[in-house]
Amino acid sequence: MDFFIRHKTIITFIAFTLFCIISLSIKSSSFTFTIEGIGNAFTVPFQKAYHGMQGGFSKLWKGYTELSGVKKELRATRKRLQKYESLTEEISELKIENRRLRRLLGLKERIQYDSIPAAIISKDPDNWFKTLIIDKGENDGIKVNMPVLAYQGGYKAVVGKIAEVRNSISRIVPIISPEMKLGVMFQETRIPGLLHGLSSTSNLCVIEYVSRSSIIKYGTVVITSGQGGVFPSGLLVGKVLKSDVLKSQAYQRIIIKPALDYSSIEEVFVVKKEPNTDLLNIFEGDK
């Protein structure tokens, strides 16, 4: 016993090192998930409380500072509303026509999905990873691989997908994360490609596997292709920033600026779409 007390520093160091090595070796086991769950359960109440407090103060401050601009904004909103009201009839007419034409061509009807609104309570505290944590989890019907969208500046665009679900919180891997893979295509030309985050410290994305001969213009809109089994097709992803064509490579590398500003997203919508497991297994392999 005396030996242990005298050498407690080195014994503790060896024990902790062994724990880390074993834990990293069996990273997908329920053992590590339980310890991570305990760690999460310990920090989540503080995160939620801080988020609530910060949100309350921020709303109070906004209510005070934005009061002067409300009148001007109201006028502009009324004008915009009139414009949109006139568009509604036109859109419903187009929808009916689109449905009729799809039926005539034998195409599948687009499915409408419900969504679960959620607030971002935390971001990854480390520089190596880029995940977001939301305040909704398994109890609210969220499942792994559900797509996540957000509205910003009048646009609805892709945020990422659910990577991990616990009882009352979930983790999102955003499209700007290098570990995220997303099937996309260019809206005009319908040329497909594979999108992922540029790096751990950048807010841009890259599209790979686009043929060198394809002409990709600056500002071209990028949307989801629907391949991969996770995201529905046609969702806005971003716009083309630049294209690198290297003589030595068969494909060009296209840099994309996402439609959403990830540093200012506060609310997201988790789309209640279960992934196509067959397609997912093909693309991501059986896990």
Binding site: T9, T17, I21, F42, W128, P178, T201
Partner: protein, 167 residues
């Protein structure tokens, strides 16, 4: 050391909550944010020795791993190991002044980054790719913030440091 334990617990929780909150993104420079939790660990190791440093590093690393998307152990081991190493170069060896603190935090941050990279290569963690884009800017950022944080922590742990005879 009872009060020191309570202060340490509070510091770890505050650091992880602040570091993970969206508003902390405003502090990003060159895409990176400082690792306050790591500075706390090094401060405690530097002042209270290897044992205190490695235990604090291990506990804060477990919490960091559980909040982050990393596998359990990837961020725990570097914090624990650096807590152990920094404890050996405590105040008794390195005199506390701004240059010492900056050099200590800068070199510790670099070693931490190297440990994370090594572990990710050994255990096939695919997410970690751009090493220099993260390690160097984070080390500079940590070193820049460290003197002011050490000054604040000195005030918090004033009584404990007096008792230990470190001040």
């Amino acid at each position: 050391m009872t009060f020191a334990h309570i202060y340490t617990g509070i510091l770890i929780i505050i650091s992880i909550v602040i570091q993970g909150h969206s508003s902390f993104d405003v502090l990003r420079i060159a895409g990176v944010k400082p690792d306050i939790l790591f500075i706390v660990v090094i401060y405690l190791a530097y002042n209270f020795g290897s044992f205190y440093g490695e235990v604090t590093g291990f506990i804060s690393g477990i919490i960091h791993d559980s909040v982050s998307n990393s596998p359990l152990g990837l961020l725990t081991f570097p914090k624990m190991a650096l807590g152990f190493i920094a404890g050996m170069f405590g105040r008794s060896v390195l005199k506390s002044n701004i240059i010492t603190i900056i050099l200590l935090i800068f070199s510790a941050s670099i070693i931490k980054g190297v440990f994370v990279l090594l572990l990710s290569y050994i255990f096939h963690q695919p997410a970690i790719s751009s090493s220099l884009n993260v390690i160097l800017p984070e080390a500079f950022y940590n070193a820049f913030l460290a003197p002011s944080l050490f000054f604040i922590f000195d005030k918090i742990y004033h009584d404990e440091l007096m008792r230990e005879g470190s001040m």
